[in-house]
């Protein structure tokens, strides 16, 4: 009798201990278990006080640069211009700020409300697609000098905003209807063709030029975002590829020739790692072989950068970045247009002296892989900030100088990486548009179709 009691008690104590281990400390242990912490290489844990501070600094950028009229955030510090990609970054940063406790529910609502309103009123271009660049003050399309302009659209930037909207719908479901309405205004007829290829438009000599701007990596990422909204997947998921060899590792790059298409063929951190942070390289609704290649390619990109550090002793974290002088925007790559570790300006020239350890790449690699290499990267990056302004773009490889430009994307990426860690894994639970949501109801209405080449309409049209 006593023996049985002791046994029962011992059992209860063990169960209690396990339950305590799993659910104490904000359910840290439970999260660790359910998110596969026992087999992941990523950092998944609640934030340390220091990391909380990092997040706060990144959020400072948003506090400083929010335009009160529109709720939009400047793309670069004090520069009232913003792209759709950066609007997407803003939404993700806002979600991260709420989850990390940087803003209270009321402020979250106020900020999101203003953004939703602006996005729903965004002046579209004459093709009824969102433009490439907007004034963050007035939400009208402008060019780089700030003059009103009609400069085509970018499928890549549209995709980032669409993805951010889906993430917001998942994490703040009460706003789902208003989020759906943003997309329901856009005209997708010129953006996506029947084979699932994404097209972009830019102005050349005053005339719109429509072309396939997306290259391997970006193309699959953009297609994943379109897939979240139910758009058919296709060509954009399988760009033509060829292999290049870096440090005896074979890496796939886009096979379209940059010498004849004038579109650089690049391999860099962002397009490879974003699907990791957001979907764990398993975007929903995407064939499993595509998911496998996405993961394999991301491995290649990060391992090559690690190999460069280990063999050549050069700290490497490559991503595109901005500069305070010409050439303004630089594509810093693992491989670009024929050369490993190429650093290309937007003017197409090569600027090896500008190569840098880019903050946003460091944070992404640091979040996704817990290794000596990412620790070393973080060690040179963790002080690259101004506590009252935000995170700087990066540290120059050639000189060790700081590139003190402040941009929205870098600070958003810091928050996104920290959110990944706090969330203990990929940001999306599922992400696909719901069958019973406003979006689905609206697009399935055969008697009053929106006429914008939305996914439901395509199905209806395809039916006999």
């Amino acid at each position: 009798m006593l023996k049985t009691l002791v046994r029962w008690l011992a059992c209860a104590v063990v169960i209690l201990l396990i339950a305590f281990a799993l659910f104490s400390g904000d359910g840290k242990g439970w999260r660790w278990l359910t998110h596969g912490g026992w087999h992941t290489t990523a950092r998944i844990d609640s934030l340390t006080p220091q990391e909380q501070e990092w997040a706060r600094i990144a959020w400072r950028y948003f506090e400083n640069n929010t335009q009160p009229q529109t709720g939009l955030v400047n793309g670069s510090d004090k520069q009232p211009r913003v792209t759709l990609w950066q609007m997407g970054d803003t939404l993700i940063a806002l979600l991260a700020a709420r989850e990390l406790g940087l803003v209270q529910e009321a402020e979250f609502d106020a900020r999101l409300t203003r953004l939703l309103g602006t996005l729903n009123r965004l002046t579209l271009t004459n093709t009824r697609t969102p433009g490439r660049l907007y004034s963050s003050r007035t939400a009208t399309p402008i060019d780089f000098s700030g003059k009103p302009a009609n400069s085509g659209w970018s499928a890549k930037d549209m995709a980032r905003l669409m993805l951010a909207l889906r993430l917001t719908a998942e994490r703040a479901p009460q706003y789902r209807e208003y989020l759906d309405k943003i997309i329901l205004r856009w005209n997708f007829c010129p953006v996506m063709d029947n084979e699932g290829e994404l097209w972009s438009s830019s102005l050349q000599n005053g005339k719109p030029l429509i072309r396939d701007e997306l290259r391997l990596g970006e193309s699959e990422y953009a297609a994943s975002a379109f897939r979240l909204w139910g758009f058919p997947t296709g060509k954009a998921f399988s760009p033509p590829s060829q292999n290049v060899i870096i440090y005896q590792r074979s890496l796939a790059v886009d096979a379209r020739d940059p010498r004849t298409t004038w579109q650089p063929s690049l391999l860099t951190t962002l397009p490879a790692m974003l699907p990791g942070l957001e979907f764990g390289w398993q975007p929903p609704g995407v064939p499993s072989e595509v998911q496998k290649t996405l993961r394999a390619r991301a491995e290649g990109v990060w391992l090559s950068q690690k190999a460069r550090w280990e063999r050549d002793k050069v700290l490497t974290a490559r991503a595109d970045f901005y500069l305070a002088q010409a050439p303004w925007h630089v594509e810093d790559t693992v491989w670009g247009n024929g050369y490993a570790w190429n650093t290309l300006g937007d003017d197409g020239n090569n600027y090896p002296r500008l190569a840098q350890v880019t903050t946003k790449a460091v944070f992404m690699l640091w979040a996704l892989w817990k290794t000596d290499y990412t620790d070393a990267l973080m060690a040179v990056t963790q002080h690259l900030n101004h506590p009252q302004q935000g995170w700087f773009e990066g540290r120059v490889e050639a000189t060790g100088d700081i590139n003190p430009t402040l941009t929205l994307s870098t600070n958003a990426m810091v928050l996104e990486a920290l959110l990944y860690k706090h969330n203990a894994g990929p940001l999306f639970e599922n992400g696909l548009v719901e069958d019973d949501g406003y979006f689905s109801h609206r697009t399935a209405d055969v008697f009053n179709p929106p006429g914008l080449c939305l996914p439901g309409e395509r199905a209806a049209r395809a039916a006999p």
Binding site: Q242, V244, I245, S250, R259, N337, G338, Y339
Partner: protein
Amino acid sequence: MKLKFLLFFPLLAGLIACWLSLSAARAATGLPASEFEPRSGELTPREMAIAKNAWQYFVANYQPTTGLVNAVNKYPSTTMWDSASYMAAMTAARELGIIDKAEFDRRMLKLLATLNKLDLFRNELPNKAYNTITGQKVNYQNKPGEIGFSALDIGRMLIWLKVIKERYPEYGNSIDNVMLGWNFSNVINPCGMLYGAYLENGQPKYVQEGRLGYEEYGAAGFSLWGFGTCQSSKPQPYELAEIYCVMVPYDSRDPRMTSQHNYVVTESYVLYGLEFGFDKPEDRDNSPRDYSHPWMKNFADRVYQAQENRYTITGILTARSEHQLDKSPYFVYDTIFSDGFNWNTITDKGQYVPNTAAISLKAALGMWVLWDSPYTDRLLDAIENANEEGKGFYEGLYENGDGPIKEFTANNNGIMLESLLFKKEGKLLQFNTDNPKNRNFAPSLWDKKLVDLFEPNNTLRNRPFLNSTPAVKTWCDQTGTTMRTKPACQACQCASCNTDEPIKLPPVTAQCLKP
């Protein structure tokens, strides 16, 4: 009976499994190209006709005043490289019976006399270009003046001077005199790195010259005459490019920094194969399938295989080399790989001109003779009649179907003749004169100067040391010559390069051909 059979079965199965795995392993590591043997044998009438047609170029473009031959049809200018191609053509014509010894001698005497009288760049080495009518040194516009020297052009000339000297020792004297007139101070450094020269604001500049393939070919010429060529003979630094499932090596020195293109073409490897049979330069053995320069043979196989695979996969008949054009930009590097891109076709400025890509006839015929394969048979069918009566063979056939490149050059026709001679005689460098290792060694004029401590020009002109063998010693003792000795410490001059360092071959094929 039945039981016995059953006993044998596992043994049989084991053997089959063993054989299968072995053949699979071989398929995984080897290239089909390394299985193709070089062609050899007497020329067929069809091949003789090609040889005769190619020789027409040298009949039409001979300049009686100097004995030189125009590098490009009717344009009276030439380089050391093209003159070496002419020497190759002459040798082939004589050996194949297109010309007799008398014609050969008349041409060779004249040519060697001109080489001996050349006005050198800064009294060092032959200028990059010469007028074939007057023999004056000229610039690229064929106006009198000097522009520098090319270590690779001189390297090829050194190979052919050696080939002629070994094949026809009667010319040894003239050839050694050419060599003794040259100053090698600036063309090669103690580590065996090759330098070319050019003029900048009237001052000569010496810059490292040669990229993987050409560099080793040029170095082989220097090494034949006794120079140490450690650094330029090494394949490093190289990287690999994956081209239609073949890992093709290319020089990894960055063309953006050095303004030298790192092109991979057939010519450099084909020439090495024809002239040295993929042996080390000093290898006196003539056996055709015993390659004493394994990495050169292996890299050549890769360059061949990438081109055959391109034909198999895309249907474009491919044999690439740098070549002339009959229209602007007049000259392109038509490559397997260059400056970051597979199948790059660029001008010397680096501009991409894909429409000028062509089947190079010299590359096609060189590949035909070095790799006996169905693919090279097809190449020969494509090029065999691409010639004009009395002018020789066209430079190439445009890949885009625009027909022939209606230009004729000494290099193209010379290498075509070389290839045919290779079929008849095997590797073209055939040692004939005395080996310094022999006991009855009789040194040539060049050797005599090299061993003599009191020959002042040895140091002044950076001539190499002749290795001291017992025969050399005996000869010195007999003639009372004081022997020049190597400095005791060679490593202090070049610690970083080790000639005997073994070369580990990189992986050959990519995974993409596997199911």
